[in-house]
Symmetry: C2
Amino acid sequence: MGILNPKKEIERDALCIKLLKDKGLSVTAPRKSILGLLLKEHGPFSAEEILKKLPKNSCDQATVYRCLNQFVEVQLVNTSFLEKDMAHFEFNDPHHHHHHIICKICKKIESFHECLMEKIESSLQKKGYKDIQHRLEIFAVCESCSKG
Amino acid sequence: MGILNPKKEIERDALCIKLLKDKGLSVTAPRKSILGLLLKEHGPFSAEEILKKLPKNSCDQATVYRCLNQFVEVQLVNTSFLEKDMAHFEFNDPHHHHHHIICKICKKIESFHECLMEKIESSLQKKGYKDIQHRLEIFAVCESCSKG
DNA sequence: TTGTTTTTGCAACCAACTTGCAAATCACCA
DNA sequence: TGGTGATTTGCAAGTTGGTTGCAAAAACAA
């Protein structure tokens, strides 16, 4: 599981604190619980799913969105838009770069780790996937903006 | 420009009609104007941009969304989610498979045609892009759904 | 042309996400 | 360890991209 291999809650808690501090974010209960959840379970999860998974009343919806956006900004978390209208979030484990495949019908999301399209497609075909389409999107700072 | 190389409005109009009929969609004024626009200009465009580009009062917002969704369904058009919260649409020219890069700051969108990540990244770096991230998402019908 | 089906426009609606603000919590340092 | 200023949270209201119900209009088939 990459850089995260905690056996106990306490270890995960300590890891959260370290990750937050390393990114210059102050350590608060909501931030720890949200990040902790993303370390513990794989995702990707929608904000709504995350809210439901957290202990009742542990954190407001607005806080979930605010924290997730902050995490994305500092690249602790990755977003994807597998479903129109709803972002999904996942811990950004730099040792386990991967991609997602979503079923067009049941919306089940799986991960895989190959990274060349042709290879990916044939391996997915072998697994029984049909009607495969992909979308590759790239985000960066353009030359003029990095000078501005 | 791939399968579309019309010199005149009339030719583009005829192409629209053919494309719509081939996909089993009935030919209506809004569908022709929306598809015609996507053939004429490259995009990707948001629904709002498309609405603005169409002649005043030529077509309702709801119709734009409905048509675009139909086009995506029959794969006449591709969607991407370059910006959170807003889909972008583009004519799906099968002869010119390509991807997009969006500047994280100014949101300018460019296209490019390479398709292996390592090559892409180094070619973008040469163009002056910094802080490059990518997102590859794959959509397909899973084995159990294609049996159901 | 006529009858049936599909599509459109309008306006109301929906859901994901954001925001303003006062109260609570955090980080810092004496 | 406690006090103080800066940051974050919860709440509730707001924004916005996109959808929907329905009657009128347009498309299609005979």
